[in-house]
Amino acid sequence: MSVDVRARTTAAVEKQWIAYAVVYLGTALWFWHSGLVPGDSMSRAANAYYTLFSRDPHLAAIGFVWNPLPSLILLPFLPLRGIVPALTQQGLLVVLMSAALMTATVAVLHDVLRRIEVPRTARLVLTGAFALHPMIVVYSGNGMSEACFLLCLMLAVRSLLIWISEGRAETLVPAGLAVGLAYGARYEALAPVAAVPVLVFLTTFRRTPGPRSRRLALARVDAVITALPGVLAVALWALAGKLIVGQWFATFSSRYGNAAQVSANAGDISLVTGDDLATRAGYGLQQMLGLSPMFAVLLAAALVLAWHRRDPRVLAAVTVLGSVLAFDVLAFLSGTSFGWLRFHITVIPLTVLLAGHVITAVRPPVAAAARTGTAVAALALTLVAIPSTLITLNRPDLAREESEWLTADGAARTRDLTRVNRQVAADLDALNLPEGAVLTDAAYAFRIVLASDRPKQFVITPDRDFPAALADPTGNGVRYLLLSARGAADAVRIGRFGPDPATVPTGGARTWSDTAGNLQWTLVPL
């Protein structure tokens, strides 16, 4: 968060910024209170939790399936668990954090609009159109990593914009750092890590005077300044993964990683999204247009006007946010992604910024009436996204994840799951087991480990002696095996009883099922 954002925010925006902060806080509390905190958020909170409070606390417990930043941010606040246990046990901390990050994203977006000289009223409306967009509101409250990712991307857009308008090489440093940070949040940041240096190279090459060799050398240095942090982040994360987990890119290659999970439940994904290219493209288009129906129109208008006025500033937003969008679409079309609605979330800030660029592009030499006309049109095209998103969110086939929280039966299911997990944790605590008594796969039992008052009773996958305990549980003081019923890659169940869940012995074992009666957890005594 660069210093001058706070300094230069004007009084009017101050009130608006607080308003959005309150809205997001409310959403976060609603998610927490109604027990709807999604599994991914709880898992990221659990990753942070393991590094300090698990049986074998060490930094590498942060896990290499996801990029570390969203968990690392939580670390300083984990000790507050002593005061308010709900912070970690029920995931309150992770939702509050995403609310704060989304508020910061709104502030940065507003600053970007101010820097491209969007008139005040249009600026406030556009900021509102972004801040109150249903998808943004939902993802400000559910603790997912989107908030952190969007903040980093917006910081990158802002620095790139400053560099394009001022041209001083020093301003490339924050751009490079922001892109590097974005990779810390999500692996989709690989796209801007590659795209932004190319933009910088071409811009410098095109606009510096002098002989060709000098322009080439300057362009190369600028590209290296922009690319170095991003490349370093990718290399270091891969090296750390190789050293500790033995795989260069655990996100893709490990058993819990993307590819494995996608292929594991490829069946029901293609059922919904269609398995051939055409239907899949149609599904993706529906999702994107649902979130921002007029995105294509605004994109075309902004690019034409920019070309007409020879003003490259629009490229900042298009390169950073556009590259992430393109990466997700390609991943989805090539069948290696789940196709969640949230993978298109970057289209929302992109549309708002494109509208801003369209409004600024129409300047005084153009008649005042035409100017206000285009401004109103642009604002209308942006605001239409809000109702269309509301409709999309209510269609479970398009918003599969969101329907688990927003639709009545989906919410009930999630609430029920949360209740079951808390119940298991309570029952295990009641047994008053010694340290390292229960062996379980943290990839599925993270809610239970979080909810439990005695986290040290669990032997979990990040522990350094987990493989030994899995090989010889009794020898390592393990008394029970906690097995998830439907975990596709549950290391403990598969390790002990083979891939078919049916082989798990139910005799003498304690089981927990949800209200609908299907089995969730089994506790097998040794």
Binding site: E170, V173, L218, V221, V224, I225, L228
Partner: protein
């Protein structure tokens, strides 16, 4: 003589303190070796972390706002000759018969009325060839050859002190024999010093090189100096910290310089030491935007000799000014102490420790000895890893940035290869530490004229073997 002379490297108090410390560490090492090692590692990693944060802070502070004192050509030339004060230029030289010839052509280019200019060539008594070469060249009236009588320590500061006694000028500056100063530098210094008022006693002009593209070492040298004069020095000025001066092109008010006792003849980096003493006496130092070109060292061994002299000087200055901590804190304030420890003392120590830490890292990857896991206690282990990875990456990143800001994009490769330069620095650091103990005031002579074509006999004068 001033109390802070490097005649004795360690004052009695420091010596006893050192003895006591060594004894304690000795006992500790015998009783509980592990805790001693862990504390040492902890201190080193914290110091490294602090040094890196300090450097980033300097670069960030330097980049925000203008801290270079600019005097335009027009203002410099506007001052009529009558108003210009008498200016003394001291040129110490030792065994430089070849380079002296070039000197008169470079200093001749100085745009300053000859009747108000006083150039002293300070030559050692036993250096016959240079004296003959100089006398053949020094034809103009305002150039005088001062032969410094033979006495120990035979160092550059002692020669400058001898020159200062004869100087009659209101302002004084120093140039090396091979320097090519910006012709208007003297005029700019006069205008700047008059404009800034009495609190500014010294101006440090920027140093650059005329043989940058000779080989990889000169490119590293140029990159390092550009980073020093364009981002670190302005950072020190922005944070109002003491400025360790450069070897040449620093312009003084003669009267205040004499009051301060001029240069310490026993300190081989007399300029850094003087910078600290200027800060202690409350005077301020400015950075003048005017470039003096000098010869970058192009030979590996020659470079090690020069750099080890500088590091030895920095260590001497650091020890000398820690002699009475209370007085130093009172005079320099916490900023001065921070700069003294992290910069003046830190640079050579970091260079020295780099080698040790890299060796342990390689040993760790080679053989993963279990004892190292005990030595590196987790929190400091992570701090160490962060310093190793992000610290080095940050410095390389800043080098690339300064290659861009000094408008020399062709130095990109050099900036990315900086670790090679650090290895040379750690070798120089080791040599400096060795000499600090056994031979503190020895002046490790650098051979000049290596940029000249080899056939000319001038570059072949015998350099005294170390």
């Amino acid at each position: 003589m001033n109390r802070f002379s490097a005649r004795t490297v360690l004052s009695r108090a420091q010596r006893t303190g050192l003895m006591v410390a060594l004894v304690l560490i000795g006992i500790g090492a015998i009783l509980r070796p592990m805790t001693v090692l862990q504390t040492v590692v902890a201190i080193v990693t914290v110091a490294y972390g602090a040094a890196i944060v300090f450097r980033v802070l300097l670069v960030w502070a330097g980049a925000r706002g203008e801290h270079l004192i600019k005097v335009s050509d027009a203002d410099a030339r506007a001052v009529p000759d009558a108003d210009l004060p008498v200016y003394t230029v001291l040129v110490p030289a030792y065994r430089e018969p070849g380079v002296i010839g070039l000197l008169m052509s470079h200093l001749g280019a100085l745009d300053y009325p000859k009747d108000r200019l006083e150039v002293f060539l300070l030559l050692e008594e036993d250096d016959r060839e240079t004296i003959e070469a100089a006398s053949a060249v020094a034809s103009e009236p305002h150039v005088r050859i001062l032969v410094v009588p033979e006495s120990q320590p035979k160092t550059k500061p002692k020669a400058c002190n001898v020159g200062l006694e004869q100087a009659t000028g209101e302002f004084v500056t120093i140039y090396d024999a091979e320097d090519v100063p910006d012709p208007l530098q003297l005029r700019r210094a006069v205008v700047a010093l008059r404009r800034l008022g009495a609190s500014y006693v010294c101006l440090q002009a920027e140093l650059g090189y005329f043989n940058v593209d000779q080989n990889r070492i000169t490119k590293w040298f140029a990159l390092e100096y550009a980073t020093w004069f364009r981002s670190l020095l302005p950072g020190l000025v922005a944070l109002r910290m003491p400025i360790p001066l450069g070897g040449t092109s620093n312009h003084f008010r003669a009267r205040e310089l004499r009051e301060l006792g001029a240069w310490d003849p026993y300190n081989v980096t007399e300029d850094a030491d003087l910078g600290i003493r200027l800060a202690r006496s409350g005077h301020r130092v400015g950075v003048l935007q005017s470039v003096t070109l000098e010869e970058a060292n192009s030979d590996f061994i020659n470079w090690i000799k020069q750099r080890s002299r500088w590091y030895k000087g920095y260590l001497m200055t650091w020890l000398v000014h820690l002699r009475s901590p209370r007085a130093t804190i009172r005079q320099l304030g916490w900023r001065g102490i921070l700069c003294l420890n992290l910069f003046v003392g830190g640079t050579p120590l970091a260079a020295l420790l780099n080698a040790v830490l890299w060796a342990t890292t390689i040993l760790w990857f080679l053989d993963r000895p279990p004892i190292m896991e005990e030595i590196f206690v987790p929190p400091f282990y992570y701090l160490g890893v962060i310093c190793l990875v992000f610290g080095n990456a940050t410095v390389i990143y800043l080098n690339v940035l300064s290659a861009r800001t000094m408008d020399r994009p062709d130095l990109l490769g050099t900036a990315l290869l900086s670790p090679g330069y650090w290895a040379m620095m750690s070798l120089a650091g080791a040599k400096a530490a060795w000499q600090l103990i056994f031979n503190p005031s020895y002046w490790e002579k650098t051979t000049h004229g290596l940029h000249l074509p080899p056939s000319s006999p001038s570059s072949k004068e015998a350099a005294d073997v170390g």
